[in-house]
Subunit: 346 residues, 4 copies
């Protein structure tokens, strides 16, 4: 079978690199075009010596019009606000697009409230929200996928079985997330200087992070309930991984076993969701470098509360892996192509 030609716009960040890493093992795709605004004109191997021996390609400046005609698949790993204009131009062509940015994740109203005016609101309804585990049919039917945020992925997958089955008080959901530093991107700043991050943990943007409305809107749409979340992200001293610890109030009594069964049943067909046994809670180190979301949970019977723990690699299931999974659906590949690399440990 002839390989489909793919482009990555925004290839010099951590997400761009992880796309390269995964796509190089994909049998149906050929990486044919790369852009990187800051590094235009340099070879990808100068920016990522890791790529030496795998890919010998010049980075081009970002310009939608210059994307070659034979490109069939496009991944956008651009700062938010930048994607929309590019998508607008590419959407005219017969191209499948996965946008890893935030521009097409939210409804127009929510977008405007949290990000400001949208550059091409008319395209928002063309975009499918890219969590296959809750939205596969929409993705199949679309040409444009809005790849989800990293925090939302971990929170939504952790909560989906509960909200779908109307098992919890949707007014009192607490999501406490802990992220590695790669989630903040590759641009240097004092906040992510090694010595500022190492040997410390802190909360940031409490109740004000843009991923909060994404979690709420997606879960509300998915469940038909109005889901309200108290979301606090934390930065911890590691490269990769997000652990979300989720606190919910159950509407009725459930045992650990019952709730675990519900999760297992809900995700039975899902290759990239793994449910931990009772009393076992996943570490992000068990999904490192892989596309899995591992979920564990515990019910507190004395007051009908439950704690759900969900672990992903923020760069894989939280970004590039999800993007490959979504593109596989869009482009008609096996959903698991390029994603069957086991976790790296330690």
């Amino acid at each position: 079978m002839q390989k489909k030609r793919a482009a990555i716009l925004g290839a010099s960040g951590y997400t761009g690199y992880d796309l390269l890493r995964l796509l190089l093992t994909h049998p149906g795709l050929e990486i044919s075009y790369l852009t990187a605004e800051k590094h235009a004109g340099r070879n990808i191997c100068d920016v990522f010596p890791q790529m030496s021996g795998f890919l010998d390609m010049e980075l081009m400046p970002l310009d939608a019009a210059s994307v070659p005609d034979d490109i069939e698949l496009v991944f956008l790993a651009l700062p938010h606000g930048t994607s929309a204009a590019v998508v607008k131009e590419l959407f005219e062509r017969d191209i499948k697009i996965v946008d890893l940015g935030a521009d097409f994740r939210l409804s127009p109203g929510t977008y405007t409230k949290w990000y400001g005016e949208h550059p091409c609101p008319e395209l928002i309804e063309e975009a499918a929200y890219g969590i296959p585990e809750i939205n596969r049919d929409s993705i199949k039917a679309a040409r444009l996928v809005a790849n989800p945020g990293c925090y939302p992925t971990s929170a939504i997958l952790g909560l989906a079985p509960l909200v779908k089955n109307a098992l919890i008080d949707t007014d009192a959901v607490v999501v406490d997330s802990k992220s590695g530093v790669s989630g903040a991107g590759r641009s240097p700043s004092l906040d992510y200087h090694f010595c500022e991050v190492n040997e410390g943990v802190k909360a940031y943007k409490i109740g004000e992070h843009r991923h909060m409305p994404e979690i709420e809107e997606v879960l509300s749409n998915y469940s038909g309930q109005n889901v309200k979340v108290s979301f606090t992200p934390h930065l911890i001293p590691m490269d990769r991984g997000i652990l979300s610890t989720i606190y919910v109030k159950l509407n009725e009594a459930k045992s650990n076993g019952e709730l675990l069964s519900l999760y297992e049943k809900h995700y039975k067909e899902e290759r990239y969701i793994r449910i931990s046994p009772e009393k076992v809670y996943p570490s992000t180190s068990q999904v490192r470098g892989s596309n899995f979301c591992d979920i564990g949970l515990r019910v507190e019977p004395s007051n009908n509360t439950a704690v759900i723990v969900s672990a992903i690699d923020n760069l894989v299931k939280g970004a590039s892996g999800a993007a490959v999974q979504n593109m596989n659906i869009l482009a008609g590949f096996e959903e698991s192509e390029g994603l069957e690399i086991p976790p790296v440990f330690p």
Copy 2:
């Protein structure tokens, strides 16, 4: 003034070391006697080369009867269950005791439920619970102080102003704590092997950690309300520090400014509590090596919830620093002696 002679029983762990580090800067104390069961017969400098040039002393086997007669102050940094018998024997003498273990922190009933039968329940009522910021008078009046657990310290100091003023729903308190690895002690085990901890984060003992009843009982006693906590501890890849992120439901509307003022007022006289400005949340790296508990918070006005973040160094304010502070109160020193070392950063 003649220095008082002090002993540390259990000097070879991380808590023992941090006691040494602090006490060596204390003008009123002289470290005179050390025990370390596993290392008896060795010099403290063989166990901690860090101590070379500061202290040249042989480690003795643990035996309450062998503690010299001229010892006036005793710190116990022993595995729980071990302290009680030692305390029983030492309490007969005219000695001030700070026990860093769990044996005297809980009421007899709660202790039995979570730890099993108590070896000397009759002494429990002699012990003051050692958080001076909520319990200074009891400590002054006691001869035996139960030094608090590290997680409870961060949770209790974060919640004290709220429960004391009856401002929250005490049935729906969530405490999500993130701890560095030194909290697990110095005994080798696979769980704390470098490669198992590094580059990962996980929850453990959800709803089952023995520090949960300690938080609940202490806050209930302090506030006269029945405080119920959902407590989830996490292990993160750093040496020192605990960050507790606390989620509460407010009984009435408060602004950020009002709640911050309340905290500032509540802790106005407390040297070791620092309140962060609005929209600033503390990192554990700003208390590293020091006796401070730094607290920040944010109110979510749309649903009367609040998030409180409290940061301590688990080995200092969460263990040895608190022990020195407690002993200063017991022994009549200035409360800050040995504790005025600024944080180490980075």
Copy 3:
């Protein structure tokens, strides 16, 4: 093509896991039998939750006689001293063996001097030393490969072009190696407790590490010169990676460009050696999770010395990746099967 059935004896350590990770992407092999002495009877997914969804297999006790008859390929990832007896029994059968331990790396005399009496010295001459880049023909001709030590791999690959071409004073070679902690294995001990390793760096076994005679003997055999090395290993706070910084005295003046050309030419056909451009020195982070050895160098013209820097992932090119590469040669697969996973970064 029918897959060949493979066994891993000693599957529960970090090297065992990395073998699984790589072999699961190998099209010609089927993992069919696993042993793990300490974990016998448990499922591999209980020991490594990372494997869930990939492999569902019980760990067997170590017993050469119980290795099924249909096993064609065996990897041994056992403590040294344990391998030899197993190899002895398996060698009777028509099986290809890669031993990741130290038992067959050295000549009988050197082995005895550094490790003690050898359990089956008669088999030593059957074993090929497993660095394909210097020894491919011997490996092809063998049934048993002694997989090299991690430090020796980095040192030997860094020095091979120089000693082969008789360019340096072989009496004055300094090898200063920095290793991540996974090189020490997965058995808990105080030395590798998180807090003992984190935020520190130390040298150990200076001039006494068993990898020193391995470096010397292999390079001497390879070059026909008597190579003498001053070897100092260091432990640094990271999971994976070895960087060896090698100091040599050149026999004659060379420019940076000349020496780089020599390395490029020497390794021109080698898939897993990458030479860095002038003034660029590799970080271990550019080979993480991959089978590459990246090499950079600088000549000091004022006194005809050179510094060579070689970076590997100790668990891949320094252990499991090399084992797969060796087995591919032994078993007639493409040498790169199972090894074309790009590095993980960050």
Copy 4:
């Protein structure tokens, strides 16, 4: 005794902070004036929340003329090139100055070769090089001290006993240094972004680092021999600490015991040098936060070589601690004032 008023020019970097940390425990000094170019107008506690409760002071712009008249002691922690002009102006007054930058460390010729033209070469001869252990008398006699570089401190202290006693081949000294990231300062750049540094080790500026001529010149002056060093610095993923592993050729046979005795004798009177017992090599974690330089060594009898390992905290003995020690000598305090804080561990 009245405290002397001290200023820190350049207080917002890691070195500036560590000066504050140490000086706050100094009984003879009062911190009275701070500058920080980038943060002028802000309170020190906004830049370092760590300082809250210790120091409440506005940061001033850098301007030598504005340093108040009553300042008696000045520490300069400025980028190199910036110090010289400031020193020139302050030197006119009756002020004791410790310059933590590079401007006065080298002879005019060496300075020009490595850094370019010197702004006030006439002052170079007024400056004493600030390693008290080799240069105490010069420091006592001076008004201006050039505080040494962090790498040079570790290398010079490790080599001083050998070169002073003419025991080694001074043409063939290898210094392989491993540094934590704080040595690179607090300015954000991609090189020191958390994810670029974490989980990796690399060499940089091989044979070209400006600390190399400093090591050579200082040791040559100290020993009367022409010392030539091959110096390779490495960056490792930790905050603090430098370990230098030094390889030398002995002029005559020595045993481990003999060489250790020589070091012990050489440094007998030195509070901040600790010699490790035979076969024990220091970790940087045993000097963390303290002013010690710990040294271990091993002789290889077969070829008369020796390996010396020296460990410091780069921010203390390698910067701020040395500055305090030097200022104590300049200003007539006890040399140990402000420096008797034990190491922080873990």
